[in-house]
Symmetry: C2
Subunit: 342 residues, 2 copies
DNA sequence: TATTTTCGTGTAATCGATTACATGAATATT
DNA sequence: AATATTCATGTAATCGATTACACGAAAATA
């Protein structure tokens, strides 16, 4: 078992003090060149490793950043995390991950835990709120720990965010369906307490209005992001007086379910019915009947969030920077809605 | 800005020493009940939070564990990490993630970084080795930090592992193809320097031999885990003298590529040609022509790895426990290979 | 009453590194 | 030669918590 080597061990061996060793290793200009070289050589030969915990305690900086997501086993969040990790790794930061499972109690708990662990920043995608309680968020801000929201954001003073233009995404997808000749477009909507889903819905609505179509409340079906929810939604929609001829779904999984149910009923896609989803999950392009979807460039979102963090950390504490980065969504048109090219 | 409250602040307020405060908060039995209550009440009212970094420095335990994976944005690894996080969270551990991008230099670097950060354990999936160099692994073991391999393992003394029975997985899939009447089964193999791929291949080979079929080297095509690689493999296979009538792929992505290429050539699946993959990626069941695949129960693998870690941590250091857990693979039979039911 | 235990708390070292300040030696300045 | 300056290093406090040991007071025992 290799015992831990400290700067005191090096100091003793060289008959100097730990302070000198510390300075030599940190390239302090006040150290004689010969001493520096000797220390560095000796440190290497003794296999010295700096104790990051001692450093963290002294400096108050842990070189860890916390990332909070609803769950990690979703392609979107995993990709964002990948982006964050890749951007922050060269700067010496380690990424600690936490999951909320869409539970705001867990969200609060995670925030407190990360602050306890003295992370240097927190990057997160908020969960839908059940009880309005921003205490944990303000606790973070009071501690002057940079807080950055990505994708799912909240309006809190002093918090930066990196999101995509969900309104535009919803608008583009809906406009595309209109262009393909659809005249009665339904929407599978997500939790409206989350900005992202609200904006996708608003984009959908605006696209309808801008193109002389009527918005009907009955065409908006709230769904969970699951295949089954998509199937049920189609079941509901097909019972309406006037049958819709397209769906813009705020979730790719629901879009998939919708397609499966439509096929089940022998409704031809895209000839009779067009479908577009949101998130550009990997499976959407793998399907034989590939699914049109709005891409959120998660990797870029992660990298951008990391960059915003890097800008904020080390800034003089009095200045509260609040940066709002909005990325452009990209519509990937595929078979599930391509009448013109198919 | 809320300044940090320490036990010294509490001590000063109550005219006692920090030692007493510490003992009171840690339920040391030597403390008078009235003092304990007073301290706890005061700590709460002053909004005291224990400084985990100081604790970590003193105790040498950071309450962080490191997880190293090739990449995080893969359904398999993300699910394993989810399992790890969920199992370890109740025990107060935080999960730090690192990516290797299949680069053994990065792997070594990550190992050293995690040890530097004083993690209490490392759970990892190894990357294929280019240069044989186990220095970093032994460094971990010398420091008496529990090291656990999951999925992709290596033979190193003192290291526990949680894997699935890849041999059996390969065997089951191949046997299934034989049962469906396939008589010339090809294999898309992965990097043979990794145990998992070697074992999948060996399972394939054994299943052939056990069922009176001839193993032919030319039917084994090395592929990367990608759609394109699968397409190219089919291209190669169809140029052989005797055309194969099935593929067992060690990767779902390659299996998908193979299917796409076969369809392109109007070869009917599963009638003329059967395909089975490995990993049970989400898309395999979403496809209209769903893909038969071997499930690796990643969530369970993550949880099991975490449990093995918990068993090892806190054990008397002299005893080196080496536990090898092998999970059972599960074959999910789907349309891409179901002649009997389709 | 004298002596031993027990109890509760204080003192001070420790974990490992950084850094303001002090100090003595070497060098530069007049 | 006397003084000022620079240079390299040492001294000791600090970050915040834990804990072995010491110690005085109270309680138990003889």
């Amino acid at each position: 078992m290799s015992e831990k080597i400290t700067i005191y061990d090096i100091a003793k061996k060289l008959n100097i003090t730990a302070a000198t060793v510390s300075r030599a290793l940190n390239n302090n200009p006040k150290i004689k060149e010969s001493t520096r070289e000797l220390v560095i050589k000796t440190a290497a030969s003794m296999n010295y490793k700096q104790n990051k915990l001692a450093l963290a305690l002294k400096s108050g900086r842990s070189n860890n950043i916390g990332v909070i997501v609803p769950r990690i086993d979703s392609n979107f969040f995993a990709s964002v995390i990948r982006g964050i990790e890749e951007e922050l790794h060269p700067h010496g930061y380690q990424v600690i991950i936490c999951q909320t499972h869409e539970d705001s109690k867990r969200e609060n708990e995670n925030l407190y835990t990360l602050i306890d662990a003295q992370v240097d920043g927190i990057l997160m995608s908020v969960t839908a709120v059940t009880t309005e309680n921003d205490g944990a968020f303000h606790n973070v801000l009071e501690k002057n720990v940079p807080l950055i929201f990505f994708d799912r954001s909240k309006h809190i003073d002093g918090v930066s965010s990196v999101t995509i233009n969900d309104f535009k995404g919803g608008y583009m997808a809906t406009k595309h369906l209109i262009n393909e000749g659809c005249r009665c477009i339904a929407h599978l909507s997500g939790d409206q307490s989350l900005e992202i889903f609200k904006n996708r819905f608003l984009g959908y609505k605006q696209a309808l209005l801008d193109n002389g179509m009527i918005f009907k409340e009955e065409l908006v079906i709230p769904v969970k992001s699951s295949v089954d929810a998509g199937k049920e939604a189609v079941d509901t929609l097909l019972q309406l007086q006037t049958r819709p001829d397209a769906i813009f779904s705020s979730s790719d999984f629901a879009a998939l379910g919708a397609i499966q149910e439509l096929k089940e009923r022998n409704i031809s896609i895209p000839k009779e019915f067009c479908v577009a989803g949101f998130s550009n999950e990997p499976f959407t392009k793998f399907m034989e009947l590939s699914i049109t979807s709005v891409d959120q460039s998660p990797l870029e979102m992660g990298k951008m969030s990391a960059r915003v963090f890097l800008e904020q950390v080390d800034k003089t504490e009095t200045i509260k920077i609040e940066k709002k980065v909005v990325l452009a969504p990209e519509l990937h048109i595929r078979k599930s809605s391509s009448r013109t090219t198919s």
